[in-house]
């Protein structure tokens, strides 16, 4: 098991803020829009550097998506920022018609995704957003795992032509990926090579998967851990290659088990290569108030849950 150490912990949303700030200098076509959540989305630095390219929309997400589409027509590269719930569920039809169906180069950047938003509770904790976004034809769906990866992804999507959903979150978690990484859309990251089981994880669950890998190693189980930061397009090749070696797979995500990464992997397996799979995901329910750690434990989204799922899936080989 490869060792991942870290010296600091940060929130992924700050990675977004840092990436966006870098884009303010790097790409004059990048514009940013926000629906009254500048602080939450960490957009202050962008605004400081490029005030004329920032649009405060107010609490009006539908209008924000439409304005972003219009700015894209002019040739700008709009990054919209609000919570994941208000970035997707609230404005699904606006994204569907004015962005996805209209082929607009809009980057929908969503913070506070999943349960780890914490105390605000289920009204704000969307667990369906990956599913909603991946069903839209032409939409790229990215869910990053730490500060550095989020920063790199933010910068990378500006160079990609087409609509993107970029999902990140609020909790402070270890920063363990390379500071100077190049983010490649659609390319899985091999976290740890192993032979007994494949664990594919996205977002905050990647660090949990690494911790699970260490627990499993102590018990003599050699886990291959893959970070799927891009859920659509899915890196089918990397997943199939791994599963042909290990013979079973666990998917781990901070999302409803319906419609998320797990379902994307299941679809791949059922059409390409049959193998047992277990889901680590929320079991078709809403969230609730609590601390992020409490919620991850209660809803079965931590390292221990992954370990349990690995043992179960290995028995089914």
């Amino acid at each position: 098991m490869k060792k991942y150490t870290y010296t600091e912990s940060k929130d992924t949303r700050s990675g977004f803020g840092a990436g966006l700030a870098e884009l303010a200098d790097k790409n004059p076509d990048v514009v940013a829009l926000c629906a009254d959540l500048i602080g939450s989305l960490k957009m202050e630095k962008f605004i400081e550097k490029a005030p004329e390219r920032f649009f405060q929309i107010g609490i009006a997400e539908a209008n924000m998506i439409g304005i972003a589409a219009g700015l894209a027509i002019e040739g700008k590269i709009p990054f919209t920022g609000t919570f994941a719930n208000f970035s997707t569920g609230r404005v699904y039809d606006q994204i569907r018609q004015s962005v996805a169906y209209s082929d607009k180069n809009v980057k929908i950047c969503a913070s506070h995704a999943g349960l780890t938003l914490g105390e605000d509770g289920a009204t704000h904790q969307i667990l369906e957003d990956i599913g909603l976004m991946k069903m839209l034809p032409g939409m790229t769906v990215i869910n990053t795992c730490d500060y550095n990866q989020t920063k790199a992804a933010t910068i990378a999507i500006a160079d990609y032509e087409g609509p993107v959903y970029l999902r990140f979150g609020r909790p402070v978690i270890p920063v363990f990926t390379d500071e100077n990484q190049t983010f490649e859309i659609g390319k899985a990251w091999m976290v740890n090579e192993g032979k007994d089981v494949t664990i594919v994880a996205t977002g905050h669950l990647v660090w949990e998967a690494i911790k699970a890998g260490e627990i499993l190693e102590a018990e003599g189980i050699d886990a291959e851990i893959i970070n799927i930061h891009t859920i659509k397009p899915l890196d089918s090749e990397a997943i199939l290659k791994s599963i042909k070696k290990t013979g079973c797979i666990v998917t781990a995500e901070e999302h409803n088990k319906l419609g998320g990464l797990g379902d994307s992997v299941a679809q791949l397996l059922i059409t390409e290569y049959l193998a047992p799979q277990e889901y680590v995901a929320v079991n078709d329910s809403f969230g609730e108030s609590g601390t992020p750690a409490e919620l991850m434990e209660k809803y079965g989204l931590n390292a221990e849950s992954i370990v349990e799922a690995v043992k179960k899936v290995m028995k089914r080989k």
Binding site: G58, G70, I73, G75, Q97, S98, Y101, S102
Partner: protein, 282 residues
Amino acid sequence: MAHDISKLQNIASQVRRDIVRMVHACQSGHPGGSLGCTDFLVALYFDVMKRKEGFDMKAKGEDAFYLSNGHISPVFYSILAHAGYFDKSELLTFRKLNSRLQGHPTTHEGLPGIRIASGSLGQGLSVAIGHAVGKKLDKDENLIFSLHGDGELQEGQNWEAIMYASHNKVDNLIATIDYNGQQIDGPTSKVLSLGSLKTKFEAFDWKVLEVENGNDLEEILNVLDQAKSLTGKGQPICILLKTGMGHGVDYMMGTHAWHGKAPNDEQLAKALDQLEETLGDY
């Protein structure tokens, strides 16, 4: 500015023929609002708007138009064809399989002249504002025009957009409301009253202009000239255009019955009798 009214009248007559023939050919579509907005769109595309040759999605150095009430696609397609964005013969394919002329307008099939999909109502004003603020950012002084149904204003997103445009002084935008008082289920006054649109827009700090006869080319041109002269003064501009749904075909006028209904063979013949073929049928 001198306007060539008779030229515009000729185009309008032919566009109306196209509309009824298109919806008849596929036995679906929305003739009522299309006929009602014909004169406005003819004035816009063939007189008022600054347009370059060919289609440029970004509309650099020219005006751009957004149709928010996408169901009146027949008039939009006919206008775009006559304006030279694609061949008139393609109007034959309206609403048919493999056509670029979808039931509601889309960019997805690559039809020149269209910048955004519309059909799901209430989204066009936001997009128009986005393009307008983009033009300001690029210091392009050309204008954005948009058209919206009155019933469409029942969609809440419009009011988000209306509030945004005045707060941010989006004064390079002229949004026109097709104020025909009709929607699918009946008069707007019965379905969900709009109240005084003039008062509402003014309360949101827009400049409001009104056209009593939105099917009179001279009145339309006058108000558009006036609207253009009011741009760049810190306020977005709204034109309340009172049109007659189905205008130009007697049995379609004054009712919502032809909002989304196609004429049969006999009705088509009757409609065409009332509309002079001026520029040749497609």
